[in-house]
Symmetry: C2
Subunit: 398 residues, 2 copies
């Protein structure tokens, strides 16, 4: 058995970012830039007004001065002439400052009298002017490669003049659930069998982490069916299997994949839930074998699959972010395996309080759905009292 | 001018959840349930084994006992017979417990010798058995209406036998950007004009908040163009406009909407950035008028549009979640307007540290993209020293 940390490192070590594609700007949210975004335009494009008011010559702006209004510059309609001595031009936020003017008198500090403007304040040159390129200049790198695009980044790229962006395509994650006992939800369930929860749950997990999920037909418990699944997954960036570790004397998934030349990296990790995790490859296709138990499958997906999708998608290698919390109830000492304990999560003003759910049976999917966090317990962690500090992995929507 | 809180309450007051639709299970992640999910199946479907091992009669299980192996029950293939005196059946995690057996001897505590099994531990009745319906029973409400579905919820609904779920459809949000000075990214920019960043940014915002974005063609600065936009938005659940508040002597968006019978609720709120926020309706269609400035538009969307989409989508009314942080630099006293200050965010172990960006000009979209949080400052907040407690709104990916 290897540690969680070693397993993560070995999984990520073999993964490379997938190729790039162009996507429309509004669709690029959450995607990872494959190339930096260089501004095609300067913002602002010229010296512009930061306020509604009057473009004036600062040297003439003093309380009591009277200027002659010679025109207006609405947004999108720059004033073609020049602001001469004793003159002013009506101007609005974002309008280009006319030639000759060097400051903006805001309308709250001016009085319009027919074609005249009375000045009610003194102005320094440059007052209320946004300089050309103040936000960024044409040619500037405004967003760097490898960045996951936020809503605001989409705004930046738009202002920089880009109708589409070069991002990594979504990693294709093939999902192969195995088992004679499972039926897809809505199908007739075999005697003593169960409706499969892993397929849709993992597909949603993959989508939520920026991947494209390819649900393969359920493989029955034969080596040939598992081998056929591996063949069907060709072209994917990662094959995820579930189950197959407890069928008869040997591991069915490994045996089935072996028919297609499976190269095993490791299996069995020192964690709970989820000891029988498999990692290897079939003809260059990485394969992550999750336990069939849905709780174990979900926890292992959270610890290993999320990071694998992120790395395939162009992000740097990273572990799930652990946060600080205090225990809401005591915990017993841990054994040799790193433990991920389902817990209710509350915030008491001072911080997060994580209370282990009483039933930790890994068959309890509903309890998992109610959990707000996993409490991470290191191997051999001693008993802990209520109130003690622990590390948690917040689950939220994913 | 009304307060941010009053503006939010007045916007949400008029919004009702949109109708429901059925979506496939794997596509339901992030959607809001319109009806509760009742389990169609019990999980487990019968008493099943929690481990790999042997189904036995607990009364016979004592160290040194020898049992006769009479068969096996792989997952999906229940044992048809009965476990009689001195007998055992090979069993696996999830297999149905055969009739006659009442405990599971785990394989680590047993020794197989030909057709015999040697017992190495004493067992109490029920040991390593998951009871029928332990997670949930057929008919149980496993997920309630109004819940936004997590990845784990998808698993629960799958285990409960549902191939599709009844969720609120995505609220349709029409987006109408106005202005003579703007061109969509990639199009020729008019003299002194700018590439529009609001359209794609707001579309991404809408999508990220669970809505469906409908980008209307940009409206030029005429009342007729704005009125045409309102007509094109019929069938949407909410119309969002940007800009138009600073064109000439009057508010162009309000004047244009008035041609279609605009009923104004309020405009102007006591906040920065984003004072000129408009809210009202055109023939029953709610209209939220955002400022044209992209920074102001984004901050107002975060404070008002996100909650409006959530409420249209079936969630209860809610305000953005403020979190605790400490200031990384001093701040001056605030004036009458509630202020949302762009800040860099770091975690120093003890908690979040928010440092106001030096340039708060609302034209700085790139600075907004670099911000990790908005610091909320109440009206008339006094000066604050570095290290003092503040409330922040974390921005992350949205």
């Amino acid at each position: 058995m290897i540690s969680v940390e070693e397993a993560r490192a070995r999984i990520l070590a073999g993964l490379k970012p997938v190729a790039a594609e162009m996507v429309g700007l509004a669709q690029a949210h959450g995607r990872v830039l494959a190339k930096p975004v260089l501004a095609r335009l300067s913002v602002p494009p010229a010296d512009v007004s930061a306020m509604d008011g009057y473009a004036v010559r600062a040297a003439e702006a003093r309380p009591g001065a009277r200027l002659k209004l010679i025109g207006a510059a609405p947004a999108g309609h720059p004033f073609a002439g020049q602001v001469g001595a004793g003159e002013a031009v009506r101007i609005f936020t974002g309008s280009v400052i006319p030639a000759g003017a060097d400051a903006v008198l805001i309308q709250e500090n001016a009085t319009a009298e027919g074609r005249d403007v009375l000045v009610n304040e003194a102005l320094a040159p440059g007052r209320h002017i946004r300089r050309a390129g103040q936000d960024f200049a044409a040619g500037d790198e405004v967003l760097s490669a490898g960045r996951r695009l936020s809503v605001r980044d989409i705004g930046v790229a738009g202002a920089a003049g880009h109708p589409w962006l070069c991002v990594h395509r979504r990693p294709r994650i093939a999902i192969l659930c195995t088992g004679d006992e499972i039926a897809l939800p809505g199908e007739a369930v075999p005697d003593g069998g169960i409706a499969n929860s892993n397929a849709a749950m993992l597909a949603a997990f993959v989508t939520a982490h920026g991947g494209e999920a390819l649900l393969l037909p359920v493989a029955r418990d034969t080596e040939a069916a598992v081998a056929a699944g591996a063949i069907a997954a060709r072209g994917a960036d990662l094959l995820v299997t579930t189950g197959g570790a407890s069928v008869g004397a040997h591991d069915l998934v490994q045996a089935g994949l072996a028919r297609q030349g499976f190269a095993l990296d490791f299996w069995k990790i020192a964690m709970r839930p989820g000891k029988p995790l498999i990692f290897g490859s079939v003809d260059g296709l990485p394969v992550l074998g999750l336990p069939g138990n849905p709780v174990s499958a979900y926890v292992c997906a959270t610890l290993f699959l999320g990071g694998a999708i992120a790395m395939l998608g162009g992000l740097p290698p990273a572990a799930p972010v652990l946060e600080a919390a205090r225990l809401g109830a005591p915990m017993k000492p841990n054994d040799v395996r790193e433990d991920y304990v389902r817990a209710l999560l509350a915030h008491d003003g001072a911080g997060w309080v994580a209370t282990p759910l009483p039933m930790q049976d890994s068959g309890m999917l509903r309890a998992l759905a109610q959990a707000g966090a996993l409490i991470r317990r290191a191997p051999h962690a001693p008993a802990a009292a209520a109130g003690e500090a622990v590390e948690i992995l917040r689950l939220e929507m994913v």
